[in-house]
């Protein structure tokens, strides 16, 4: 199936619509997700596409950085899209959707406000599933060299001779 929408914006109705539009042109069981601006795209192999979309949204709600685009969050959780990991993730996301329904929402992805999604996450915060996802993101997200420049972090400096002649003491505003 082909989901041409940002995960956050993907409601059940859209999912159904997209699925219908995709028809049988795509192999059942293989998933494809793409950002609305086509800046990123990913195929899922083991996880249901909607599960991946929910997982990406969950990752952003755990560590929200408005200047970090979805593609980095996708990379951060892509490791769970394996036959070994998929079942636990499907069960976990089903639990998350269950918690969302318990608060009167259709599903996690149906919730429009981050504040309300965070309320749902708080419900499952103590679960091993939540802690696994959160713990994995600490390295999965912040140890991506590609995100470092967004935070201004420069990474290794030895190959450039350190900062002795490159601004180790260049502060001017004090």
């Amino acid at each position: 199936m082909n989901i041409q929408s940002k995960p956050r914006a993907m409601t059940r109705r859209q999912l159904l619509k997209n699925s219908a539009a995709a028809g049988s042109a795509f192999v059942v069981g293989a998933g494809y997700l793409a950002g609305a601006d086509a800046a990123w795209a990913t195929e899922t192999s083991a996880l249901e596409p909607r599960t991946m979309a929910t997982l990406v949204q969950m990752a952003r709600d755990i560590y929200p950085h408005d200047r970090v685009s979805d593609e980095y969050y996708v990379v951060a959780v892509k490791g769970y899209d394996t036959p070994e990991a998929a079942e636990e993730i499907e069960v976990g996301i089903a639990m998350l959707d269950g918690a969302a329904r318990g608060k009167g929402h259709g599903s996690y992805l149906d919730i429009g406000w981050e504040r309300e999604r965070v309320d749902v996450l708080r419900q499952i915060e103590a679960s091993p599933f939540f802690q696994k996802i959160r713990g994995g993101l600490v390295t999965g997200l912040y140890n991506q060299k590609a995100v470092w420049p967004i935070f201004g972090y420069e990474g290794e400096s030895f190959s450039q001779g350190g900062y002795l002649d490159r601004g180790f003491d260049d502060i001017t505003w004090l």
């Binding site: 709600d61 755990i62 560590y63 929200p64 950085h65 200047r67 965070v118 959160r134 600490v138 390295t139 997200l141 912040y142 140890n143 470092w148 935070f151 201004g152 972090y153 420069e154 990474g155 290794e156 400096s157 030895f158 190959s159 001779g161 350190g162 900062y163 002795l164 490159r166 601004g167 180790f168 003491d169 260049d170 502060i171 505003w173 004090l174």
Partner: protein, 522 residues
């Protein structure tokens, strides 16, 4: 006989561990003509092997063998299998340390006398004092080529230091400078600092002192020192007369060997050293070696620690330059009017983005946390190093339910803060935040302690055999040819980073051992 030595050679001194204690001791003995076999559990990494990448370097260098934790310290919750951030490699944690090289203050050698009784604390005076240690500190400072000692210039201050210094001076602090650091400020035997950052990941310039590329090769060059790497010691054995006669270790392939020894010196850090003594229990020593006092493993200290990070409205780029770039010493005095005994140092510190995410507020999530990281470029940071109280119940024990890769019970590390520790940390958090507020911080973060790098006190030095494990020479009270040569000897922790004192004690112990060996007393 020149190195390498035979397993059956019972004339050698065996040193277990090659860090600030063992690495220095091994070299100093070798320089004096003593035959030494040093057994190192880790591999050998040199500047060309180090990587400017926090997680990759952590995986390369850290001691990651199983350990367990208990007690009310937050490390037991957030990093339950990782009580320490220390190194498993030739050179030990001298590869990772930031380089701060401070002498104890005179009163800190006599904490029990100077502080008086502190309820719940097992304070004890060291059996040595500042006057006795002065010449050994001189030798240690010269060996490490410490800045601001013996005519060495201080290092220049980086951005993180400039923010820290400006805040400190605005607050009225007077003892503020770029530290006494074992990092070359000029080219010499080691290269001068290139302000690269990544001091914690191993200095790729070799500007920082590490035993890995100084004392170890110097000792090997004498022909009197053999370093066996990836040799993980499992137990120390003894003869019917009660003296130790050698150590059993597993090599890189897991095969066991016994190296015979005339003297055994234990320097595996404050977790592994007591663990090894406890794991060496026999029918003659059912509570473990050198443990007639029951003190082996007790009085574990880790310094107060904690950090203060602050966000400003303009960039700081704290990661540029030396990781520990300066110090405020005004609060290191003993002044009970502040509501606690002992004192603390404030030292700049920076973490890269990956470690900041892991350590700023472990377990935290959501916008309160991420809005802090969003300002990473505008952050400054400092670390608190304060004297924590020794407590008998803070201790390393064997966890018989968890075994390491060799089937040996692992160390459980139990630690709970003493009320004095909490009072001091709160004071330090307040002062650290005030430093940054004084130069316009928009937000400050009282960051909890990381997994410990300053691990001290689990085989403490004492005048009387009933109070501790070793005497003033690091010689165990119970077994005359068994010595302890690392930070586990510390009777109390003082407010200073411990490496210089570990090195000074190792030089002094080598001098003592060489004399005793020559006199056939051992």
């Amino acid at each position: 006989m020149a190195a390498p030595f035979e397993l059956s050679d019972d004339s050698v001194v065996v040193v277990i561990g090659t860090g600030a204690g063992g690495g220095v001791l091994a070299n100093e003995l070798a320089q004096k003509g003593v035959s030494v076999v040093a057994l190192e559990a880790g591999g050998r990494y040199l500047p060309e092997d180090y990587v400017n990448d926090e997680w990759e370097a952590f995986g390369q260098l850290s001691w990651l063998d199983a350990r367990t934790t208990s007690g009310d310290w937050r490390v037991a919750k957030d990093f339950s299998g990782l009580p320490a951030w220390i190194v498993k490699a030739v050179g030990g944690t001298t590869t990772h340390w930031a380089g701060a090289s401070l002498r104890f203050q005179p009163h800190e050698w006599k904490a029990a006398t100077e502080y008086g009784p502190v309820q719940g604390a097992s304070l004890l005076d060291w059996p040595i004092d500042a006057e006795e240690m002065d010449p050994w500190y001189d030798l240690a400072e010269k060996k490490l080529n410490v800045t601001r000692t013996h005519g060495n210039e201080g290092l220049p201050g980086n951005n993180n230091y400039k923010v820290f210094e400006a805040g400190a001076k605005a607050l009225g602090y007077e003892q503020v400078h770029t530290g006494r650091m074992a990092i070359n400020s000029a080219d010499g035997d080691r290269q001068m600092c290139q302000q690269t950052g990544f001091c914690f990941q191993g200095c790729k310039w070799g500007a920082k002192w590490s035993a890995a590329y100084t004392d170890i090769p110097q000792g090997e060059a004498t022909g009197n020192l053999e370093v066996r790497e990836r040799a993980h010691v499992l137990r120390i054995e003894h003869s019917d007369d009660g003296l130790v006669n050698g150590v059993v270790y597993a090599d890189a392939d897991g095969n066991e060997h016994k190296q015979m020894a005339r003297v055994v010196c234990v320097a595996g850090n404050s977790f592994e050293s007591p663990r090894l003594l406890l794991n060496s229990a026999t029918s003659m020593y059912p509570e473990g070696l050198a443990n007639s006092s029951g003190q082996v493993g007790r009085n574990y200290m880790r310094h107060l620690t904690g950090s203060v990070y602050a966000v400003f409205d303009k960039p700081v780029k704290m990661w540029r330059g030396t990781t520990m770039a300066g110090i405020i010493q005004d609060e290191s005095r003993h002044d009970p009017s502040r509501g606690f005994v002992g004192g603390y140092e404030l030292e700049t510190l920076s973490l890269g983005l990956p470690f900041m995410a892991a350590f700023l507020d472990p377990g935290a999530w959501g916008r309160e946390f991420t809005s802090a990281l969003d300002q990473y470029e505008n952050m400054a940071g400092m670390w608190i190093v304060g004297e924590d109280m020794p407590q008998e119940t803070n201790r390393v024990t064997l966890n018989h339910d968890v075994k390491d890769q060799y089937g040996m019970p692992v160390a459980n590390v139990h630690y709970s803060d003493h009320p004095n520790d909490r009072a001091m940390r709160d004071h330090a958090f307040q002062q650290g935040a005030a430093v940054y507020d004084a130069v316009g911080a928009t937000r400050t973060f009282p960051t909890p302690p990381y997994p410990s790098t300053h691990n001290l006190g689990t085989n403490r030095m004492s005048e009387n055999a009933r109070d501790g494990v070793v005497n003033k020479w690091g010689q165990t009270h119970d077994i005359k040819n068994l010595f302890v040569s690392d930070g586990s000897q510390f009777t109390t922790g003082a407010a200073e980073n411990p490496t210089l004192t570990i090195v000074a004690l190792a030089i002094r112990q080598a001098d003592h051992l060489a004399r005793e060996l020559a006199a056939q007393s051992l």
